[in-house]
Symmetry: C2
Subunit: 436 residues, 2 copies
């Protein structure tokens, strides 16, 4: 092959010039020759759009055409692919995405909320228009896990997909582990350092991880994206004492997102879990993300790396652009939308797990008898139990235990039986133990 | 999109029906519907060839056409892609590969030796014929690391690529760690369990890892494959005592394959190294493989999983077939062969590293003074030193030390200075310490 008739460049419009948009421009500048060699042609930004034209973003965008109107940006004749970096599940991001595909442009996005809510409709539009739709950066930042499932494990029926998909929660939990500080204090510190947003709800309540999980589940299991049925528990209730107890038992606590299909039903949940120290996810610290995919032929595969940040996210975005420039593009969710299965959500009550249970109780006679009676009546068998004496500040005593393997519904029954008991000073905390 | 005009199936010929070939047939049978949905069409084996037609392989191949002659197999009209699972860098495998590309067929192979030696010529032939050439299974078994570098980190200039690429060595080293047994005994046990070949030389001398590394380096750095210049040291000289010393210092020993490009020169080496316990590669045990890629935007990415075995290897082979069925195929080494750079091999003497040095010496006065004088004369600064008393069996004493960071050539000078000393009872062992 000779280089005498070079392919025309792939022309990009960028909507949204926050840290990721600026990162993409910086990457395309820094790695220009290399991107051209790998893509087989240049990748050139032709036009950009953002809310505030004059804001300093640390990169020169005056060399690109400016559009105030993002819809006009999406329709420009000199644009092949629109990069949606606006954010938000609906509103301007969705309008832009629809307009881009409607105009027959390719669409690359880092927007997990939009893909979780509208990914199927967008993919159907892309299938119809035969236009590329790609969203590697929407899940786990710089880790190529969308490609990992779409292309890497494509020959496998997956037993399950699970991992650590939210860097903020993982930072907070691993910091609590290191420092012994409580949740609120660690969250404030994470906010100060930029690891948590000013409004951290989406992260610490598990919604962000749920968005990402619903996307991975769709690709991994050939399922229609079903964000609404992700069972989501955040990390707000995890106390320093729980982390200390877990440590004493040989575990760390991580926010685990997991999905599987059994008996024709899709289970998706995001929950803080105890992770044994010899499990590969236990050493995933700070803002790092990691995904495990267990295939029926591949066995267990682990993908790990930076889950956020402008550099890693730009790396994922431009990898998608290179795929498009190479014309190595197919169905966004690994198969056409009309072949994805609409699995009903699983009812996990029969699933067997070992569970960590923590009660905070009044320090008075009979409380332990009351709890253990509830366990007996719910047929929950205790593997180990730790009662910690009253702490310095008050009359509160902590009772923590690990159960033998049993159905989840039995744990729910324990909580029902103890509901309203005046022995308990707070709602009990239930943390499943991740199987090794 | 509708399903009314299905694409014709992708028709495969399999050459070589060992465990991997049988695994591919089993996978295509087991995951038939799923592979068809993801590939967008069926993937059908039409013809096979192997040395012995009558051998029982645990799968029924009588339903496929049989060819005694592999070249005839490669040229069949009813074949789109030839699967080369014969093995060996040259001979029948290479003849088959050439014949397949020559006939305009796609070629998928698990043959690391052939790709390390002839991958460039085959890729040039594939570029010219516009035929797909893919070899995911040639590196790290079921881990999609060829795709990880070719598609996942494609936007990045890599700082380095390194990892654990040989499951046999990793099994032996982690078993020695668990059991305290010596190398020879552990190798025999690995052979008994099927983790090591009857002739283990390729594995334990690091050649297999070097094959794989040269392939990863080509993709990761846009380099022409240069297997001949991989500096390779195997694990044969690692003793149980070294593993115990490393453990006492907070390290494990792993066979590390690493490549980087600095100052326009390509460094490729395979060496046993000390890996700190908080490095993600330290927890890679048994026959598991893992690859770390450090990109200038992505940061550090880790890919981990089963490095061998019929299931994982079949998973990688069929993932390549699905890519071809989807027509998501481009340059095998991530860019056309004529754009790969012919980097000169690096001379690593100036590279700074910390080093573990182990001497076995006669137990007599003055030996330690002789060694430390050599260290001083070579300007090597000692961070810590352990002298272990004579072991039960003989008069041999072990002196182990860790150096401060210094140029590699200084360590070579220490060895030169001590060359021929009758204080030493065996060649010293030098193990670099992998930076965290």
């Amino acid at each position: 092959m000779t280089d005498t008739t070079p392919m025309p460049p792939l022309r990009i419009a960028i909507a949204g010039l926050g840290t990721v948009g600026a990162g993409v421009i910086r990457l395309l500048d820094t790695n220009r020759d290399l991107v051209r060699a790998r893509a087989g042609r240049g990748i050139e930004v032709t036009a950009v759009s953002a809310r505030d034209r004059s804001k300093d973003r640390g990169v020169n965008h005056e060399r690109f055409h400016w559009e105030d109107d993002m819809i006009a940006l999406a329709r420009r004749d000199d644009v092949d692919v629109v990069l949606e970096l606006v954010g938000g599940s609906d509103g301007p991001a969705l309008a832009l995405a629809r307009a881009a595909l409607d105009a027959g442009k390719g669409l690359v996005t880092a927007n997990k909320a939009m893909i979780a809510h509208h990914g199927l409709a967008l993919a159907a539009q892309a299938d119809k228009a035969r236009a590329p739709l790609k969203f590697e950066a929407a899940v786990a930042g710089g880790i190529p896990v969308v490609k990992g499932l779409r292309e890497g494990t494509s020959a496998n029926a997956l037993d399950k997909v699970y991992g650590i998909l939210n860097g903020t929660c993982n930072y907070i939990l691993s910091e609590m582990e290191q420092t012994g500080a409580d949740f609120a204090e660690t969250l404030r510190e994470a906010q100060r350092l930029g690891y948590a947003e000013a409004d951290p709800a989406f992260d610490i309540e598990g919604v962000d991880a749920a968005h990402k999980l619903s996307i991975l589940a769709a690709i991994g299991f050939g399922a229609r994206v079903d964000f609404a049925n992700v069972r989501t528990t955040g990390i707000v209730a995890v106390r320093a004492a729980d982390i200390a107890q877990a440590d004493a038992l040989g575990y760390v606590i991580r926010l685990i997102a997991e999905a599987d299909v059994r008996d024709g039903a899709l289970l998706q949940r995001v929950r803080p879990c105890l992770v044994a120290r010899d499990h590969p996810l236990s050493s995933v610290d700070g803002p790092t993300n990691a995904v495990v995919a267990e295939g029926n032929f591949s066995g267990r595969l682990l993908f790990q790396g930076a889950g956020a940040g402008d550099g890693p996210t730009a790396s994922a975005v431009v990898a998608d652009l290179i795929d498009i420039a190479r014309d190595e593009v197919g169905a966004a969710f690994s198969m056409p939308v009309d072949q994805l299965v609409d699995f009903p959500p699983a009812q996990p009550g029969d699933r067997l797990e070992r569970t960590y249970l923590r009660f905070t109780v009044n320090d008075r006679p009979g409380v332990l008898a009351e709890i253990t009676a509830a366990m007996r009546d719910a047929d929950v068998s205790i593997e180990s139990l730790i009662q910690k004496g009253r702490n310095a500040e008050g009359g509160e005593v902590l009772v923590a235990m690990v159960t033998h393997e049993g159905p989840e519904r039995s744990i729910a029954k324990v909580l029902d039986l103890l509901e309203g008991s005046d022995s308990l000073t707070a709602a009990p905390l239930v943390l499943p133990i991740l199987p090794n």
